[in-house]
Amino acid sequence: MACAASTEPAARFDLDAPWRLDAQVRVRPEAFGALLYHFGTRQLSFLKSPALAEVVRSLAAHPSARAACTAAGVPAVDLMRYARALQTLAASQMIRRRDTA
């Protein structure tokens, strides 16, 4: 329950792995980006960036999170910031690796 994006180490997030939204997560578009809700943990997430919302929504359609970022127009210089945000979402079970159970 915090703006953990700035404190999680981006290094722990594997940008080159395949990712997807958790099956119990729904994405609601909002003017500022999107609202995620996890029906299992009953946790809400506010994605305050339309680009991050697009990355999260399209993860499953790309071979890697890096590819999803590129397709959403995330500049290379910003990749580490997005990796930190994605790590936070992974830690709260909002997104999962597709290549592990």
Partner: protein
Amino acid sequence: MTAGSLPLTDQFERGLAAPICLTWELTYACNLSCAHCLSSSGRRDPRELTTAECQAVIAELQRMQVFYVNIGGGEPTVRPDFWALVDYATGHDVGVKFSTNGVKITPGIARRLAGRDYVDVQVSLDGATPEVNDAVRGRGSYEVALRAMRNLADAGFAGFKISVVMTRHNIGQLEEFKAIADRFGAQLRITRLRPAGRGAGVWDELHPTAGQQRELYDWLVAHGTDVLSGYGGALPGLGMCGAGRVVCLIDPVGDVYACPFAIHPSFLAGNVRDPGGFAEVWQHSELFCGLRRPQAGGACESCAAFGSCRGGCMAAKFFTGLPLDGPDPECVKGHGERALAAAAPAPRPSPDHSHRTAPHRTAPHRAAPRGPVPLTLSRRPPVSACNANPLAGFVPQ
């Protein structure tokens, strides 16, 4: 500045595509006549939404992606279709948390609830002893609530909520409330007494004194992690009023109000039976669009705590006759008490569905740019109807 770079508070003040904290009162019927009932409940309204109309609202909430609703009343479980509506909602991606006095929570129902995902139960208790509880909620209501808690715990329903409205008479019982919650594996949730509904008539005699507010604050600082509190913003700076922006109320006849504490024609935005249904009311009603335009903080804007408190509760001000752009009546800085002394006559809450045999309680109306990618996680909405409070951001010297 792009929309995404504004603080969440500012985003929320502009309103969301759909509410994230929707209260739905399914019936005005109730077996009790609590002295402080926010919705002046008692008698069923003959215009109550039918089962089919309730199902249509649920389908609409699913389309709008309202992920969960807080169901109350009245006593929602006295509706014969209540358990079917809970199943219908959870089957349509709308989770349910419902508030009850416990009257229908039999061992069988408790077992049924314990087996459901996406259902949470909140049992109301306003005294840790029968004497204190029953004085507000009615004779025998303590035993009914405790029996419901025992049934839920025996059925293995872990982590249900015990919801307590803080009053002058029960703030001294915080430790005992916590002990009851611990005994049943439940979570204690405390909320503010609002001068709404029948609560307006008893607010003067029941609302905590300034000294008790401080006692409560100290207790919360010591126990905050175990207790759900409508008294402190979950995140700094998010004590704002969410009425009509992230919060609203649907009442038993389908009327949509800005918040659960504001059942009054001044805060009525429309009805779910109107053309366009609930979505039309949420997105386009004149009242809600007005609430989403920038609001003046008035005298509060110069206060050091304005960033977190944002002037407190709109409904509490309205029903105590205070101007909406001034301080909350329970402002910890004392501005509210001074304002109350000069307050206009308070508007009468309406409508009133109280039992005609209920003790008459309504009399004493007052006469007078390059940081981390923005992402915020929280287990519950950082803004809710319950979070607008005069203690937000208050740190005793």
